[in-house]
């Protein structure tokens, strides 16, 4: 069984009249992957997890793209542990189950036999038609709904284009209907898809989003994505946050390994406690930024500002206490916790990158220059060299300290997209 631990990084001291408490809660699981192996081996029943692979077969994929997608699907199928229920869906303007065959049901357990049949099926894929990802997701949801007893449900979605086959509202409705039914990691191949659109799907479905520059790189990406999913042995982990009567929970964000604002995903547990879904866990560590606004108390007083728990079902398995103490000692109250500072900076970095790129795409060069200049500055002061390198492909940096930049003429679309998708990946704050 998995073990969870939670530790808190914060400066608990508030100045006279201070109200806002910020804390980073680091949640670490161990033994979760062992759980996955045990599950696959039959301890938890062979059918306690399900995988669906959603492959874009729209006309824009072309012969080469679909062939590469087939190879990628094969790589993913090879990673799926025997016993796991699975299906492969091909999507364009509509969605069709490619495997299993219709007489076998919506999902079949993985075995050497079904794997071979599935691989032969994906080799038959042909590029044709438009792109309506909502229909793919809806089909995936229906597939997963045939196995309500399966707790760990995961999909991989591959696309290469803009969702022009349906209205944004239609896609949005499909995504909403899938929330809580399955998790979905999304990948875009090439430079013709829209990061914002696919990020919306991944974010809502507790998955990741990334760019695959060329079709040939898909297989490696699919392999690692599926391996990561197989390693997640604990499903439906919830983050629960209690704040005292009279307090306001300003936000709850995942800040590592990726940025994800969870604030709007609250489901109330009781009047003082909200639950936030975090999906399935392998052996890993995730950081959460919790901000609470309290009514100020008198100097010298102390109170619990938040209780952050990790729970499996309704059982809390780890917790961290976020505290507040009012003090008139400036040396205590002015210090900002390094983890809070670092993640606050990274969150702002992600925001200005996304806003800068959006402004650039909209032709608002002045806004784009200012936002990306701020991003260059933030990346420089936080020593985020990877982000600086990515930014350098999009802007000419005149002075990183002041954030003085010029938009690069002829920056490639794929560099902008890779900067965009990378913006939410945070570098882990060391303790």
């Amino acid at each position: 069984m998995a073990d969870f631990t939670a530790e808190v990084f914060q400066n608990e001291f508030l100045p006279d009249g201070g109200t806002d408490v910020h804390a980073i809660v680091r949640v670490t699981s161990s033994g979760a992957s062992a759980g996955a192996a045990a599950t696959a081996a039959g301890a938890g029943g062979p059918e306690s997890s399900a995988e669906v692979i959603l492959i874009d077969t729209s006309g824009s994929m072309g012969r080469r793209g679909v062939a590469a997608a087939g190879v990628a699907a094969k790589a993913a199928l090879n990673e799926i542990v025997d016993g796991t229920l699975f299906a492969v869906v091909a999507g364009n303007g509509t969605a069709q189950i490619v495997y299993p065959y219709s007489h076998q049901g919506a999902l079949v357990p993985m075995s050497s036999h079904t794997r071979g049949e599935a691989i032969r099926a994906v080799e038959q894929l042909r590029a044709n038609g438009g792109t309506a990802m909502g229909t793919w997701l809806t089909l995936a949801r229906r597939i997963f709904e045939t196995v309500p007893h399966v707790t760990k449900r995961h999909a991989i979605l591959l696309t290469d284009g803009v969702n022009e086959g349906e209205t944004p509202a239609s896609l949005q409705a499909a995504v909403q209907s899938c929330i809580g039914v399955f998790q979905c990691d999304c990948r875009g191949v090439g430079d013709q898809w829209r990061v914002e659109e696919v990020r919306g799907i991944a974010s809502a479905l507790l998955g990741t989003v990334d760019l695959i520059p060329a079709p040939e790189e898909m297989a490696a990406e699919f392999e690692s994505m599926m391996r990561a999913s197989m390693a997640r042995g604990v499903a439906n982990v919830e983050l629960r946050v209690w704040v005292p009567q009279g307090a306001e929970l300003l936000f709850v964000k995942q800040v590592s390994p990726t940025l994800e604002d969870l604030t709007g995903r609250r489901t109330p547990v009781n009047p003082l406690t909200g639950a936030y879904p975090t999906g399935a866990w392998s052996d890993e560590s995730r950081d959460y930024h919790v901000a609470v606004r309290l009514p100020a108390r008198t100097l010298g007083q102390e109170q619990l500002a938040a209780r952050v728990q990790i729970s499996l079902g309704s059982d809390p398995v780890a917790q961290a206490l976020v505290k507040a103490k009012w003090s008139n000692d400036d040396s205590l109250t002015t210090r900002i916790d390094p983890a809070v500072a670092a993640y606050t900076g990274q969150a702002e970095l992600a925001q200005v990158i996304q806003e800068g790129l959006a402004a650039k795409a909209a032709g608002q060069d002045e806004v784009a220059t200012s936002k990306l200049g701020r991003a260059v500055h933030l990346a420089a002061v936080t020593g985020n060299e990877e982000m600086t390198t990515r930014l350098r492909k999009v802007v000419e940096i005149d002075d990183a300290d002041t954030g003085t930049v010029r938009l690069k003429k002829g920056a490639s679309k794929i560099d902008e997209m890779s900067l965009d998708t990378a913006s939410t990946k945070t570098s882990r704050v060391r303790r």
């Binding site: 069984m1 009567q245 009781n270 102390e302 109170q303 619990l304 809390p316 917790q319 003090s327």
Partner: protein
């Protein structure tokens, strides 16, 4: 896997303890319905089993219970037995005077077993009876800040407040006639006041009251003051040499003991000092020892001892005097009001600590009280007298409090602490009280030679130590 409590729902837990106390003698087991309202002359129903009885009969036809006598009440437990020790220690003042409840209790009838000792075989047993005390007894885990949540992991699960630091507010009642309260006040973040009391049970027999006020802004003064007070009590608890057996000889011995107590307290303060602090802790000292009605008081700094006699014609007064800039001003002719509200009013000229002045001889005063001159001995910190400095005003304040909450020393001390907090609570507040009403003569009369003190309020002249102006 770690076992943790689920996040509590915030609903108010309902205490179950104290709801049903079979030993509570205030409840009549035979009278769950609310008392014998029936008129005896009208052929009333049996108060025990409810059977209608024949008019004029003395006993119930059904169960044999006595119909004529006074209604059976409790089985003779004295009222003191149901004032649990917890009541004395509780923050809330105990019910004023158990005596008022005496009137409620009718004489016991011999055939009814005391509540709690009755058995189903006893005639008229009607099962366990819920206590009249309907309020759920708050247990240790109920939050004192909001009263709604419970303490989980050291914090209230409703409002997030931790349980109060016991150092910030504590009370002590070593005997029924001696008690005190030490409180953080409203503005300070630490309670640097300290209090140490001891007393023997017989009223007026022997008591030690020590109050030390840690100097704020100094490091660890809250530790130093408590160490000082405890050390001083340790010295003053020892019996003093009686000498030739006269009260004067005892008072002289007590004076020497107080001087020793100051030295020991000073050493205790020094022992708390960590090497590297730039601002070592320091505190004041005020103490009084009572033995068979004789009070010997001593102080260093601006914590005070007062003698507040009940009789208006006996002067209320401060015993000893402050070592403070304000006191120096008053000695030089400045009025008390002006001096105590001046800029340096709270600067003290002598204190205990590693940087204390050389001369720490306390200002000593002896007062002889008699059963005919009852009054209150008070030792307090400036957290109280800041708001009521004149002895006469303090006596009025105290007597008002007696009128409201009775004469329990802890309840009175709490009332005075509440008064200071209502005035602003700018400093830590400590009030220690001893009731001297001559009751000691009943129990230790032999040791009180008749004619030892004659007349009213035979107060010996203060044996002042050398005034020192540090």
């Amino acid at each position: 896997m770690t076992d943790l409590p689920p996040i509590p729902s915030g609903t108010v837990p309902v205490g179950t303890t104290g709801d049903s106390d079979p030993a509570d003698p205030t409840v009549d087991p035979a009278d769950p319905a609310g008392g014998p309202a029936a008129d005896p002359a009208a052929g009333r129903d049996c108060p025990v089993c409810g059977t209608a009885s024949v008019p004029g009969s003395s006993f119930c036809e059904a169960c044999g219970a006595d119909l004529g006598g006074p209604h059976p009440r409790t089985g003779g437990l004295p009222p003191s037995a149901w004032a649990s020790p917890a009541d004395v220690e509780a923050d809330t003042p105990p019910a004023a005077g158990a005596g008022s409840d005496d009137a409620v209790l009718s004489p016991a009838t011999p055939q009814t077993a005391p509540v709690g000792e009755e058995s189903p075989l006893d005639v008229g047993w009607t099962g366990a009876v819920p206590s009249e005390r309907t309020e759920p007894m708050p247990d240790d885990l109920t939050c004192t800040a909001c009263g709604q949540g419970r303490i989980v992991d050291g914090y209230c699960d409703h409002c997030g407040t931790p349980p109060p630091d016991p150092r910030n507010h504590f009370s002590d009642a070593p005997a029924a006639w001696v008690g005190g309260v030490c409180d953080i006040g409203k503005r300070h973040t630490r309670n640097e006041d300290a209090m140490a009391l001891s007393a023997t049970a017989a009223p007026g027999s022997r008591a030690v009251l020590v109050v030390c006020d840690g100097v704020s802004m100094a490091t660890d003064s809250h530790i130093a003051s408590l160490a000082a007070a405890t050390a001083a009590r340790g010295v003053l608890d020892q019996p003093f040499p009686k000498g030739v057996g006269t009260p004067d000889a005892w008072a002289a011995g007590a004076g020497r003991a107080l001087t020793t107590a100051v030295k020991e307290a000073n050493a205790a303060v020094a022992a708390t000092v960590r090497d590297d602090v730039p601002n070592p802790p320091s505190c004041t000292f005020a103490a009084a020892v009572v033995e068979d009605g004789v009070i010997v008081a001593g102080n260093v700094g601006d914590s005070r001892v007062y003698w507040l006699p009940d009789a208006a014609h006996d002067a209320a007064r401060q015993l000893g005097r402050d070592d403070s800039y304000a006191q120096e001003q008053m000695s030089a002719g400045v009025s008390r009001v002006d001096a105590e509200n001046g800029k340096l009013a709270h600067s003290i000229t002598r204190w205990l600590g590693t940087d204390a002045p050389d001369d720490l001889t306390p200002h000593l005063t002896t007062v002889r009280t008699t059963p005919e001159t009852p009054g209150w001995l008070m030792v307090c910190s400036d957290g109280l007298w800041n708001y009521c400095s004149e002895a006469e005003a303090l006596r009025t304040l105290l007597q008002d409090a007696v009128g409201r909450v009775g004469d329990s020393p802890v309840a009175l001390a709490q009332t005075l602490v509440d008064f200071a907090n209502d005035q602003g609570g700018r400093d830590n507040i400590t009030v220690a009280l001893a009731r001297l009403a001559g009751q000691g003569s009943k129990t230790s009369g032999a040791s009180r030679a008749s004619g030892e003190t004659s007349g009213s309020a035979a107060t010996a002249g203060p044996e002042e130590g050398d005034p020192v102006h540090g």
